[in-house]
């Protein structure tokens, strides 16, 4: 079963590598991964979809929380959460099928973001399974090209974020500093 991990981390070089390294060292394949800056530009929010044995999920989360750059890692697999994905899809649309394609897009609440003689570029967001259906439907009209964003998730249960306060680092005075 795919595990969904939501992760808040420092927006620093190498932070991503530490997180993915924990998964790849076990031979896990990351199915999807999104990462972007949060309101606080020093932090990033990351959503990972990865296949992890159920009994190891808690350990993976603990080991992620142990990383110095990670502020909070949460397992959203079995908690109340919303997961959404964005799809950008290019479909070749000859004159005779254009109206039908637009109708289908409407059903999926998708938006046309570019239209040309060759066809459309359509943007759709929604649940991951729903988007797969959308892609299948569009595929039936002809040649398509798809870019999926990977899931982004938010928990419906607020979890308090505990941050480590700054700590004093006591040092010996040296001759040069006096």
């Amino acid at each position: 079963m795919l595990m969904t991990i939501s992760l808040l981390m420092e927006n620093r070089p190498g932070a991503l590598m530490r997180v993915t390294g924990l998964l790849t060292q076990r031979g896990y394949n990351i199915e999807s991964l999104t990462v972007a800056r949060t309101l606080d530009p020093t932090l990033s929010r990351m959503t990972i979809g990865v296949d992890v044995e159920a009994r190891l999920r808690a350990l993976v989360i603990k080991q992620m929380n142990r990383l110095v750059n990670v502020l909070q890692a949460t397992d959203l697999t079995e908690v109340q959460s919303v997961v959404r994905e964005l799809v950008l899809l290019r479909v070749r649309a000859p004159m005779e099928s254009r109206t039908a394609i637009l109708k289908e897009a409407e059903i999926f609440a998708a938006r046309v973001v570019d239209s040309s003689v060759e066809g459309f570029v359509i943007e759709a967001t929604g649940e991951i399974e729903k988007l797969s259906e959308f892609i299948a439907v569009m595929g039936s009209y002809g040649e398509i090209e798809v870019t999926r964003s990977g899931g982004v998730a938010v928990s419906l249960e607020a979890k308090k974020l505990r941050l480590a306060p700054p700590v004093p680092r006591s040092q010996t005075e040296t001759v040069e500093s006096r």
Binding site: G14, G21, V68, R169
Partner: protein
């Protein structure tokens, strides 16, 4: 206060402020600015002969003092050579700060001379690592590195510094505060859990203390003693925890695990409460997990939440610093003692009589040879000389297990060995590190004939500094531990384990200017060891022991802890 300095000087200023008095390293191209600054700096630089040994020496320093060990190496091969030492420290939770040079920041990613992605390579080798490309970032990076290495669960931290960061000028201002919002260390321990633990401990009929390296890194040995004595429970110390409880303490059984004593392992199997303190339920201790301590409820105290329940389900976890938690635990135990002690007296007496019976049934006893020296006998003689007080740095293999079985340590930080990673070649450089930290102390380095040759270049460092290290090579002519497994599990097909070329150490010692001796007879062993100890400075001894001795008891890999293979009965030889 602020003044303009180059990055190299800022770095040394930060090290001084962290109380660093010695560092182990090897220079190179991009490290030139740093070594120029080291030239007239009061911090002593120990030039090792291979970067891996710089990391091992820093580890020996850290293990024997509890302070952060510092090592440094140049970019590329220097950094890659450090990695074994870094993983070794990571596995054993040893605080090390490693400093590596990196090519000039504008050259990174161009396949420049001696360029390697040290930051990427050492990510899984360290607790944390930091890449520094500007002089003004150095001070924060260094203090962060020391903070991370030495707090929480200790570990190695690497700071990779570009040449232009060393050369660049920056205004140096002391760093008094570290801000790492994601680095949360829980030290106090949950008061309610501690109370419940004390209750459980008194309620248990057959409590058993399983103490590990966490006790030593938290300096919690006094508190451990308090727990053990208050409860009057039998206690074992893991390979990493030897010395946490004095080896001569009446409650101390011995080491548990693959080569633990019969009593230690049977106690693990039969106890009804396992009090796990600063341990990680390593496979070399537990054997087959499904039959490890099958009748026991488990209390687990550890500073790392990720260790709780990792290998064994825990009934009562306490996350915190062992010293703080155990101090509170002793208090809680003592509060309950007046009502519980008498109530538990009969149970405790019965439990101890079982444990003593196991001890008597299959004691850890040295084997004495008549014609040839038995390896156990060598450890027994070293133990007699040490009397629980010497630092013993060990390499990896059979000799390490025999040393752990037969040499007592009456204090923590005397036993220096590579536990988790099992890195051959660790013994000699770590002994050098320990000796640098304790110039007045007797330091033994016990190696096999295999591992000794991995670390052989460090004889030069030993001679260079005239260090008082007694190198004892337990020479059985084989990679003994692998040979033992080939004998027991691979039909005695001895594949590539014979060390049939070994240098004559008397010539080797002479070449380095180190006193050396080959010892062959059991009759001369004790005197030869005493001579080595009395001789000031380094000493190299090749002790020829019997080739085909196996380490027993032995829990075969994946076996249950109570199903040990015991030493076969020995023919009794009557001396003439």
């Amino acid at each position: 206060m602020s003044n303009l300095m180059n990055g190299a000087h800022i770095l040394l200023e930060c090290l001084a402020r962290e109380g660093v008095d010695v560092m182990f390293g090897y220079p190179g191209g991009v490290m030139l600015p740093l070594y120029d600054a080291i030239y007239d700096n009061p911090i002593q630089h120990v030039l090792v002969r291979h970067e891996e040994n710089a990391a091992f020496a820093a580890s020996g320093y850290a293990r024997s003092t509890g302070k952060v060990g510092v090592c440094c190496a140049t970019s590329g091969p220097g950094a890659t050579n450090l990695t074994t030492g870094l993983v070794d420290a990571l596995m054993d939770s040893i605080p090390i700060v490693a400093l590596t040079g990196q090519v000039t920041s504008t050259l990174i990613g161009t396949d420049a001379f001696q360029e390697a992605d040290t930051f990427g390579i050492t990510r899984p080798c360290t607790k944390h690592n930091i890449l520094v490309t500007r002089a003004d970032e150095i001070a924060h990076a260094i203090h962060e590195a020391f903070h991370i290495a030495s707090t929480g669960r200790p570990g190695p931290v690497l700071v990779d510094i570009t040449k232009d960061a060393f050369q660049g000028q920056a205004h140096y201002a002391p760093v008094h505060e570290i801000h790492l919002p994601g680095y949360k260390v829980v030290t106090e321990g949950h008061a309610g859990q501690i109370r419940r633990a004390a209750q459980m401990m008194w309620e248990a009929k057959r409590p058993y203390v399983y103490a590990g390296g966490g006790i030593i890194s938290a300096n919690a040995h006094e508190e451990l003693r308090g727990v053990v004595e208050t409860l009057d429970a039998p206690a074992v110390c893991t390979l990493m925890g030897l010395g946490a409880l004095p080896g001569s303490h009446p409650n101390f059984i011995s080491m548990p695990g693959m080569h633990g004593s019969y009593a230690a392992n049977m106690g693990m199997y039969e106890c009804d409460l396992l009090i796990a303190l600063g341990v990680r339920f390593d496979d070399r201790v537990t054997g087959r997990l499904s039959s490890f301590a099958p009748h026991a409820r488990v209390i687990h105290v550890d500073i790392d939440p990720a260790e709780i329940g990792k290998n064994r389900a825990v009934d009562l976890p306490i996350v915190g610093d062992a010293r703080k938690v155990l101090a509170k635990l002793v208090k809680a135990l003592k509060e309950l003692a007046p009502e519980m002690q008498a109530l538990r007296a009969a149970d405790r007496k019965a439990w101890w009589s079982v444990v003593h019976a196991w001890k008597n049934q299959h004691p850890l006893e040295p084997v004495f040879g008549v014609d040839e020296i038995k390896p156990q006998q060598l450890m027994y003689e070293i133990d007699k000389i040490s009397d629980g007080k010497a630092i013993v740095a060990s390499d990896v293999g059979q000799h390490q297990m025999w040393a752990a079985q037969f040499i007592r340590f009456d204090q923590p930080r005397l036993w220096v060995n590579s536990g988790g990673l099992g890195s051959m070649g660790f013994g000699l450089p770590s002994a050098i590190g320990a000796q640098m930290a304790h110039p007045g102390k007797l330091v033994f380095c016990i190696c096999g004939d295999g591992g000794f040759q991995m670390a052989l270049p460090e004889l030069a460092t030993l001679a260079n500094f005239g260090l008082n290290v007694k190198v004892v090579v337990m020479n059985n002519g084989y990679l003994g531990m692998v040979r033992q497994w080939q004998e027991l599990f691979y039909n005695n097909r001895l594949s590539s384990v014979e060390i049939n070329t070994f240098p004559n150490v008397e010539h080797l010692g002479a070449a380095y200017g180190i006193k050396a001796k080959i010892v062959r007879s059991p009759l001369e062993l004790e005197r030869a060891l005493r001579e080595a100890v009395d001789e000031p400075g380094p000493y190299l001894m090749d002790v020829r022991v019997s080739s085909f001795e196996n380490v027993y008891p032995m829990v075969p890999a994946g076996g249950a802890i109570n199903e040990m293979v015991l030493a076969p009965p020995r023919p009794v030889t009557v001396p003439e």
